[in-house]
């Protein structure tokens, strides 16, 4: 009974994510954007002036990963980092006008990727798929928390 990658949820999720990323990259490269900055932009388009930590929490990305992404975004003229006057440690992230101007085209590109990927699926199948993804994400986040904070008394993991 050999392990079959094509029936492994983890392998399929990895493959699926790579295909989504390839598609998105192809569509947003003409806008001068890349896949790694996209999630940060989605958050910032909704709410400017966040700290790095707030971005990290909203996106479930490790802090050094976000720091590097923000450095690239600053280099590419998408954001500016400004010191918080009240707390000398904090750098607040502000979008440039150029980044704000890209919101419409960029989100349209992302919606096109989703529409492309989900074409051929019924409404209920799409809804079920996304609901299941969210449930698994929640499960894996909880088990990651267990790894970080090992056993707070109840439900010892044998």
């Amino acid at each position: 009974m050999t392990f079959n990658k094509d029936e492994s949820a983890g392998y399929l999720a990895n493959h699926l994510a790579r295909l989504f990323a390839r598609d998105l990259q192809a569509r947003i490269k003409p806008l001068g954007l890349s896949t790694g900055t996209f999630p940060a932009l989605l958050v910032l388009w909704e709410n400017d002036g966040l700290t790095q930590r707030e971005l990290i929490e909203r996106l479930d990305i490790e802090q050094p990963t976000m720091a590097n992404t923000l450095t690239r975004m600053e280099r590419d003229g998408l954001i500016r980092r400004c010191k918080d006057p009240a707390d000398g440690r904090v750098q607040r992230i502000w979008l440039t006008d150029e980044a704000r101007a890209l919101e419409g085209l960029a989100t349209a590109a992302a919606e096109a990727v989703n529409a492309d990927a989900l074409a051929g699926l019924g409404d209920e199948e799409r809804a079920a798929f996304q609901a299941t993804m969210r449930r698994i994400i929640a499960t894996l986040q909880a088990s990651a928390d267990d790894r970080d904070t090992p056993a707070r008394g109840r439900t010892e993991s044998l």
Copy 2:
């Protein structure tokens, strides 16, 4: 009507894949393995002596990515690359005894990740989820082919 990342299949797929990778990484690091080599090992455990190209086709990975992965695997004593006597271009990939010895523990770790992730889902929900992932993968692969081979006469893209 702002784009909502938490309802975007692409964003969810990316997040899900990162969580799967974190979990797998935590479990196979003690074995001296990493997530990038894992898919290659799954294929090679089933069938040794493949060429790089054959691995690429089975895993849908770009060729230079696979070349780098194989270099790391060789460095870490998991594989050996041997010139094909019949074709001087080809390097056939052979597992070392060390790599073969890891199959049981490694696949058990991967199964544990999947079991962990899918805990709380019913059998039919798991089956539906994996079926949908496979359908979307197929859809995205087809549309990538369209990008590479643009319009062979029929079904021009607008």
